[in-house]
Amino acid sequence: MQRQPTLASSCARAATAAEARFRISYPEFARRNSRVIALDGAAAEVVRQMSGQRWDGGHFLVFDAALPVDGSGTVPAEARLRRADGTEVLLSEELHGADTVVMVAKAQASPGQATTAQASPGQATPGQVSAAQASPGQASPGQVSAEAAAVIGDACALRSIMSAGLVIPGTEPPDAVVSALRPNAMVLVILRDGDDIPEILSALRV
């Protein structure tokens, strides 16, 4: 093995506390464009509460309904989302320029599901899922999240956007929700406490 001389100026010995002050700082790094999307009514409440906090430019949204595609496979999946103020926005619009998408689901059949399921899609309120996703009294937590996760996961994969999933504990076992998210999120975190979510998002610079 040919060895190069170990130089004080270049070798790992420079990794001292005193040397740390010579590290270059990058305050000008571009801000992240993160999207946090609730997949179901129960998660919507959590996401809506978080949206009122101070973030680093992240958008907080609620999945409302998958929109029909032409079936040719050439048109990307599309969905209607709602912002915290209730206004609608298309998934494709939100993903434009986004670099990270965090999907949030709760292992719980929320009261909002049944209520919304009886309403027409156009009447859905923020945080509720649409009739397209759930039928009253039948939908399991996993079923509710599966379509939303699939649409968002496909859309992220098509655009090479990193997708992650957070599963909040609820009244139901998380298995169904986890199964629904698994194919659609590169990273899944199954939490014991929903209070951890703000810290996770903060660590990701959302």
Binding site: C11, Y26, D196, E199
Partner: protein, 430 residues
Amino acid sequence: MLKKEINELLTQTGPGTPMGDLFRQYWLPALLAEELPENDCPPVRVKLLSERLIAFRDTEGRYGLMDEFCAHRGVSLWFGRNEESGLRCAYHGWKYDTRGQCVEIPSEPDERQSTLCRKIKLRSYPLVRIGDVLWTYMGDPAATPDLPQWEFARVPAEQSFTSKRWQECNWLQALEGGIDSSHVSWLHSDGLKNDPLFKGARGNQYNLTDRKPFFEVVDSEGGLFIGVRRNAEDGHYYWRITPWVMPAFTMIPPRGDHPIHGHFWIPIDDENCWVFTYDYHPVRPLRSEEVQAMRDGKGVHNEYVPGTYRPLQNKDNDYLMDREAQKRGDTYSGIKGISMQDASLQESMGPIVDRTKERLVSTDSGIIMARRKLWRAVEALRDEGVRPPGVAVAHQMVRSAAVVLPKDQAFIEGCGDALTVRPGVKHASV
């Protein structure tokens, strides 16, 4: 990204610090048993959690761990004489037993011995041998937890091997390497093909053919399970599951019938840590060639500067970087050996990495969750006196696993008992 004050909270472990208090709730590896090989052997200087201590084994075989310095004039007891059931200071002959109690002050008149001695006691901690390791508990004696039950330390001696090495950085960034499963496909890619303690396992093929793994992090009572999945045969995933038990225990998923291995990451002070590395097989003795490979620094062990626990590859020699080997693809980073591949990069971050400047991505979720759990536990202990996860023996009864499961099965359910210690039952490995 971590706020400055939280970074300091988690990285400072000296006396009186919140994280130091947390570490002082646990039985911790302090030394290898080989460091005190016989009665009345030379004492050993030990620094743990920023406390300078001395360990010795007295004439009766009792282990002691106490303040390194004599109460009289502050001389290091490392220079002392270990004889006749005590450690005697070389300066004026003051003598201490394994509990730090002064038992003799030769310069004082005989009639004053007992009165004066009784008043002088060095701070001391229990030191107990379990397996190849001497364990200590540095917290409130009234709250001493049950002795540790880690499987690697409890199997018969011939089934286990433990080494240790000095790592020149804060404990947390070393630990974070142990739960950062996403770096394995890159930094350690050579080990699967060449290392005698890894190669030949069927699971290695999944690693080598699918370099874009998916991750699942599951919160557990004692810490986390970090699952990494890769594509396997039709309709199946190959899962590698790493348990982290608070605060400092990690176990690497096994490969084939090779022994299981992992680490304890123990603070020496805020800028150095001990990495205790264990290797064990739950149901059979380690083969002589396996033990030799471990002694030779293979697997997750390392070679040493002779006579020390400092790695032979260290920051003073650029870790024996071999650019030609890197170019040939023999190693990914040019550094030989898994443990030194990790240590070289972790030490390059500086003694305590500034986490306010990092830019984590979602594949760092295991690290994010671990920090969060540590932070919560520190606050719960400090504010409410809540005993942290990992102290309870039940939390220590974990195993890593490598399994192939149907795609629709969660690894926690699919593994069943495989993530739990089952004495006499082989580990789940592919």
